[in-house]
Symmetry: C4
Subunit: 371 residues, 4 copies
């Protein structure tokens, strides 16, 4: 079985959940609860359960003497079809924060989408791993000039894509004492306060961030940057079609890791309708609940070009800094490689819809008496 | 996340179940068991479980800068599409009984349907919150003159609708010592006994209440009052069509909170067939198992014009009197508002069937091999 | 709620399971295990679970001022569509054995099918309650003359139907010390040994009982008695059609209470196909897993003319002799009566298929997005 | 109920799980874990659960005075349609290893497929039970001459079939201290090292075994032996058709007992599509999760010609050597015989598709209101 050696713990970790357990032990409880939020979430659990409801139908006796997991995502060649979703506050997991995450991602030769709520500036993060592939998760400002300034900074720092999170409506996670005073240098300008949760900062946020963000903002964005644009948080076919219409390059099927509206579908379940609606006119990605190489294989068989992981990367970061991030990604890659070999796929392009069947085919197929 | 501050407990309550837990602690056990009856009920639990089987498909990037939960129900403008179902014996939860409930409902700008088994007279309840929107739950008398007298009292006291409970057939909840001697001033006349469970009262009830109540009584009612008429307890399309035929204004899909025939469908599951059968010719409401703002959103997406809550209001009443009732309603409203924003709805009229999908769409969709 | 007073325990029993619990306490453990066999049976549990998967759709505002549960079964008028299935060894539950069961059944004005493995002779049982309606469960003998003798005895003792159990193939329940030496006077002839489990008796059984019993025996039976004939243990449409062809009067859909082939369907699930196959050309009954009045209502709504109960009667017998049997039947009748009133049925003939819906209608109905 | 007396434990074992429990107690924990691997496997459990989702529909009143379980598999007459799948390292369960297994299989008059990872040479195993029916599980060598040598040895030792395992891709089970130094005499040649897990042996394996094995190897095999060829590990209809095309004699639907790619279908669920794809042009077998005679009956009703068991045989071997193996097989045969009698089948050819129904027929059949 695939496994990676986790230096910090000197243990051999063969499942992402091993990182999860160790991270839970190491992190302050308020940080752990913030990352794991919401504790009673239906969708949070459903994201994971849903993967278990798909069955793989392997093909045998194929030549899998070499298995290549390489993938091209938004024009960048990655070593695997697994990259890092934007998540906030990496400094709470490790002092080097997003700089460490960027190094880990670059070591694994995959992409990292930096959150606007990162604790290091996008320039510092870029410098920490200059060769890495990076996207920037943008939060539009009321003042379009300031949004433009953020775009120019991202372009200047070598980011290749702008991600817009479209499913965030202020369902706050639990309070975090540990987060008092951490810096958010990609959200404020000039001499504006940058310390999270200071009252000045909260007022600054309220007064300067655009709210709500609408389709008009996507149209504006399309006109104002040459970077690739990805919308993260789409669940309905209707919205996916609109996204294609306004010219986005990618759609990430996401429910914000179950942190926003509870009771929405698992992302892997929502994926097929989006794939059909987009009909090849944009890349489709998925995040939420990916915990193993077979999960990645299933998402790709259903049509995703790449999967993104959020929490598992934070666990790796908490366990072992940049190296932990790289270990988490490496483990997923090794698991994917084994699963591909077992399924008869030597390249990512061999991963076809015929490899996957929903359990309903077996559980609800009607074998009538006498038939 | 939405939450309300519950003064009496000085705690911040973010879920209706927080009120439930506190109410269970505060109430005498026989009263708690009466409200919660039946402890082994399948339908009681199914009402709640069924809501979890529907998935919301939010729409993103809509302008939800303002979200308005206001709704018009039977001609009255309410601040939210959530109102109070008739339940018996509010004095067992709080000494001010239905007077407190009426105040709480009025503070939240929504409607309260007063039970015939209220412990205060309909006039006293009206006076406690004169500006409130009120319905009266009528129990027909053998003597039509006395039923007429009740109608005239309701009209005189500013009630706008008569509710008829059509699914009650004498499956009694557990006995209640705490209820000995409470008054039921809307059930008896002149110098008739009004103390619950006295032997004289039981005999009076047996001799004076009409039993059974049939469609003929609805026809009679339609002829004898100008108030709106709502039938509560309909579960079949056949009965819904009959109700429309005899001219009712509203139908409340209800299974009496699981207190009568066990093994009937959850109300949210029974709702779509009723909506289809009624075909817009009357309002359709639903009660049973509503515990959150997303439940309300789901019921409205399936076509209900308003949802009604019973037990949660009693929990609020037990926790904090009129203020507790208002807190429960306020919490539901805040949850609904957030859920609407997350789903891309700025008005109740934006809540469309396309927002909701049954889990069977995901769980039982057949993704055949090779398809 | 319906309840009966159980004299022996001075408790008020409102559920059949109350009798079950008390019987378990009172009976020797080997007898309890014999009645409850098999402890790990899938079908045994499935019989009960399956009833819970059907939903009742009550009709409201019907005239249910009187509710009449009377039913006509094989030409006999019974006070309720619930009667007693053949089960072995009633003496292990109560010293009066089947004589007490017959008295209980007669007090409740319903029918009792006496097993060939009864511990009293069919004549003694008849004499204990001469006015009762009785069937006799026949085990064919190798010597047709002896089978004829059993038929003549049944006819002479006023039995109205012969029941043939067609699903018994020697899957023995656990051994029973308590059963050593009990008599089986309806199985042997002349001076043959009648004591259960004596080596002479076992040899006698092996040498004298016909094995296997086939369709030819049913044809023979049809020619050799004027009594009604019922086949108990049919689960397939194919066998039901054959039964009609050879001229039986009734079919009891049964899986031997889960005691024979495990993994067969629950009887209530198997019922609809049998109803369709028989197409009114014979009565169809069902036994297995009936534990409440709503179970009875569901079986009748699906087309059964009568339900039969086995274990619950043994529990009543163990708790309180003839009176216990009558209490169990009375409780089922009261529960059925209440359920009929709640469902809008004043007579058994009002119980129609439209009253019942399988949960799959709600759980697996496809509410597609946007539909 | 069927049961066998397990001499070593002096207990009467009526379920395969009784052997499992005793084996777990007797075996070193690393060996137990190796046999039971993987402890967290979904497919491992699903193989067993899936059998429970099929229902048997017995036919009654058939002449089952004699029940004959005999079956012809690849031209050999076996006493039952149950034989032994190849599994590795029988010496870890019992010192006589595969020699004992061969004796047990021969005593039960059924077939045994010897693994290439057997701890005794194929010649020694053949000699231990010369009259037994044997297949040999071949691992192709890089040097075709050596593969030919293995084929000639198998032919010379009276093996009748070559089995090729097509679903093994190096997902290793846990390490086994107990396995240090055991011999693998069917994998190496001349003076090559034969001791498992010595570093020389591992290097030898890496350098000499063909990897990957592809369809070309099956074609080569077909040309180079007159023995029957069986492919074990096929799950997709597409691969089954290819297998027929290249001329194999049998296909064993298998997922390697859940030890390789997790998340694949249960074998009994995958069987029907394979049966349809093969369309009678080859034998179809199934292994994985068979634990009782009703499981065997279900597999045969779905179209399998024979089922194979792996772990249960190792349990028998661990409990009681050759006799334990024979007891496990005997128990399955007795259970099958009883189940056939109960289902109305006197010969294996009487086991028809009409005997079996998937639970979805009952659980998800739509009984619409009013239908």
């Amino acid at each position: 079985m695939s496994s990676v050696s986790c230096c910090a713990s000197r243990a051999s970790f063969s499942r992402l959940e091993d990182f999860e357990s160790l991270a839970e032990k190491r992190l302050p409880s308020d940080v752990w609860e913030y990352y794991s939020f919401p504790s009673d979430g239906f969708t949070l659990q459903e994201n994971k359960r849903a993967f278990q409801r798909y069955r793989l139908l392997p093909r045998v006796l194929r030549d899998v003497s070499t298995v290549d997991t390489a993938a091209t995502v938004l024009g960048s060649r990655l070593d695997m079809p697994v990259a890092i979703s934007p998540t906030a506050h990496h400094s709470l997991a490790h002092p080097d924060g997003e700089k460490a995450t960027a190094k880990g991602a670059a070591s694994a030769n995959t992409a990292f989408v930096v959150s606007s709520l990162a604790n290091y500036s996008m320039e510092d993060i870029a410098q920490a791993a200059p060769q890495g592939v990076r996207g920037f998760h943008l939060i539009p400002q009321k003042d379009p000039g300031r949004t433009t300034e953020l775009l120019r900074r991202a372009e200047g720092a070598g980011y290749t894509a702008i991600w817009l999170t479209v499913d965030h409506h202020g369902r706050p996670a639990s309070l975090m004492e540990s987060a008092e005073g951490v810096r958010l240098p990609n959200l404020s300008f000039g001499d504006a306060p940058m310390e999270f949760r200071s009252s000045e900062f909260n007022a600054y946020m309220r007064d300067n961030l655009k709210k709500p963000v609408t389709w008009d903002d996507v149209v504006w964005l399309r006109k104002n940057t040459q970077l690739k644009i990805v919308l993260k948080g789409i669940l309905s076919a209707e919205d996916a079609k609109e996204a294609v219409k306004v010219g986005v390059d990618g759609i990430c099927v996401s429910n914000h890791g179950g942190r926003q509206l509870d009771g929405v579908p698992a992302t892997i379940d929502a994926l097929p309708d989006i794939i059909r609606a987009v009909d090849g006119k944009a890349d489709v990605y998925v995040d939420g609940g990916v915990r193993s190489g077979t999960d990645v294989l299933k998402a790709l068989a259903l049509g995703a070009r790449c999967v993104f992981v959020g929490r598992p990367v934070l666990w790796g970061l908490a366990c072992n800094g940049a190296e932990g991030v790289q270990q988490v990604l490496q483990l997923l890659k090794e698991q994917l490689k084994l699963a591909m070999a077992q399924a008869g796929c030597s390249r990512v392009s061999d991963i076809k819809p015929s490899l996957i069947v929903h359990e309903s085919y077996y559980l609800h197929g009607c074998h009538c008496p006498g038939s």
